[in-house]
Symmetry: C3
Subunit: 292 residues, 3 copies
């Protein structure tokens, strides 16, 4: 695997190999790289958990992280993504981790770039490292994917998490359903009421209402969204035994999920963050080893 | 000591222990931590010396510093301080050092957060690491606190340095006085003329006029402030033998203090910066050891 | 050599010594410093390649890099460059690398500052590390400077690269010529047509049209600049055998140079970036050794 751009490029075998390696790291196994590599994190959109998680993961597998400040780089003078990444490659960077607001920004990097590219989120496209940590979290919980009912709730059409996860989970044998307001389903077939999905879901995966992605009309009300599509304490009680709650975060408390449920027993929201470090160690190691 | 939030939480013994440990570090002693820790510096307000000083201190005691860019973090999407810190904790951060514009922002971190919190300035509240380095500077100079006349000059009511220092110095036996324009005293009793405090002060501690904290009215004139409350060469000559000048910086030259006095013989302004690294090594080490 | 501020301060011998040391590093030689030093990169203007290149070079010679965020530092509260650098010095920084929009910002650092200052670009002044990497690139190509025809093309009067390179290359025996629109020559004598310089140039060194430096009038048209002064495929074919193309980048594709020529066989544009790391390793090591 030379790059990690989209879940759609990964076979089931490649996915399982990354999850197994993440498990190795959680079990305390040491990284297995021939030498120390140089990496850079290019985040052209705000991020706390994804960026910090990669920063931690990279150091834990022995990489040197060269700082890159997107808001103070030459991209502000109009330099293209290609020229920026090619420059970093010539400086000696072995892998770049990129988040950008453009869908498939990475297409201009497919030719002429030799350093590895790891997609940390492209516009409303894919977010494969989030997807892999979600898969890791689910497998850790249930030991399998086959036959699980997984309900993804929220702004499906604009969510890169929804797309990445739907692709992969379906391939791995899970039964993926969607729940959202009628206008938010995009090309997906979705339920529009909790009644259809609440009681038989093994995983309820909430998506963030992305105010910053213009997905929300002027008529949107947090209160009425919460009432109709939010996970409330009443709904949580109806979930089946052993079912879990997930959210890629940051959470809008009392919108997607009631404030008091964020750290409830069923919630794996902060556990997902913890799992993200092991998963990203596995991702970056796998990509770098693919070049040795 | 699990966190360092306010000087008011520290006993005299705890203060002295930190100052002694800072002295150890200045004497070249090695840090004494069982392993390497991960820390992150969350500065939601601009800072040069406090942030850079912590960055240096953390590395000198063997910590790994995970970069955090406040202006490009998920807090810009509305993520709460609690969720931000909890996220960093799950990523593997052992201690966060935080500066924020809200007074007592740390109250929402007192429950549910396991990583250590070190306050690097909260709004118009406290600034304990600055206070401890000031105490270190004074003790290094005089060998004691008892009986020293210490005059704090400037915008007392909005200054976190004034509050942190007044609390601690009084407990340690110093005689703390204030000098400021009548409207700037807040709840403190203050002199309004240099005549009352100039010649018998052992320490003159100038505060920064914080334009950015709206403490200054439209009628404020730098020239007239300097004339009435600034430390001028004429006033410096009247200071007693061995008396010193302090300022937490950044200095507004020719406002709080005449340009030519910033590096004069009595000035400890840049020496304070130097002492800050030893003091912060002691602070971070103490907090991390409290968790071993 | 205590600081590196301007190419005008360097003798030919000092230049050659740095180029030789850069060659050592490209050959894989180890750095030769007595201990690990602390450095900080103060970039008050956006930069990708210069900043990242210094970051890499500093780590490769064993330095600890203390992060400094110009846009979030106390300079935003009005702190002077002197006070900022003096503060970093007291914190334990051994060398600062500075880019600033003010010409000769470093003049206020010549007295009172003990840490080393390396100029990474001052306004429309000098850019010595870029100049040295350009010299390194030329020498690697031709093995000499004497007698080479080197043509610098573009916004000469506002370019710090043009100034730094013209000074040094002339001293080293090269024949430096300029090509630019009549109003852009400043104090330099310049050709205004490719006919005068194209076929006998050994090096064509293109400069970036710096939109952000207000050098471009409202009447400026990218298309007509490219037609008249850009390096087009037709012109490239007329260049002499073995002649090379250079550009400090970021490149405005299809303005200074046709898009398809950026990575053509004659182009050394990305090779310059690669050479920059070796050159900056030599610069920082030389400056730090000058203090041992």
């Amino acid at each position: 695997m030379k790059n990690l751009l989209s879940m759609e490029h990964l076979s089931n075998e490649e996915i399982i190999a990354i999850l197994d390696r993440a498990q190795d790291f959680e079990n305390g196994m040491e990284p297995n790289l021939k030498h120390s590599y140089n990496v850079a994190n290019l985040f052209f959109e705000p991020s706390t958990r994804t960026k910090t998680s990669f920063e931690m993961a990279e150091r834990r597998i022995g990489c040197t992280v060269i700082p890159f400040d997107a808001g103070f780089s030459s991209t502000t003078k109009g330099e293209t993504m290609y020229d920026t990444v090619k420059t970093l490659e010539m400086i000696g960077i072995d892998a770049v981790i990129i988040r950008d607001k453009e869908d498939e920004y990475y297409n201009e990097l497919l030719e002429g770039i030799n350093c590895a590219v790891i997609n940390a989120g492209d516009g409303a496209g894919q977010h494969p490292s989030q997807s892999l940590l979600d898969l890791y979290t689910i497998r850790k919980e249930f030991g399998k994917f086959e036959g699980l009912n997984i309900t993804i709730v929220g702004d499906i059409s604009h969510s890169r998490v929804a797309k990445s996860n739907a692709t992969a989970l379906t391939c791995l044998g899970a039964n993926v359903r969607f729940l959202c307001p009628p206008t938010w389903a995009g090309d997906f077939e979705a339920a529009h009421s909790w009644d259809e999905v609440l009681t038989d879901s093994d995983v309820i995966m909430l998506l963030r209402i992305q105010h910053e992605r213009h997905s929300v009309s002027k008529n949107f009300s947090k209160e009425s969204y919460h009432e109709e599509f939010g996970l409330t304490p009443v709904r949580e009680k109806q979930m089946k035994d052993g079912a879990i709650i997930m959210h890629p975060a940051p959470v809008n408390r009392d919108v997607e999920i009631a404030d008091e449920l964020v750290e409830c027993e069923r919630s794996r929201i902060f556990e997902q963050v913890r799992n993200g470090v092991f998963t990203r160690m596995a991702i970056v190691e796998t990509i770098l080893k693919g070049r040795e």
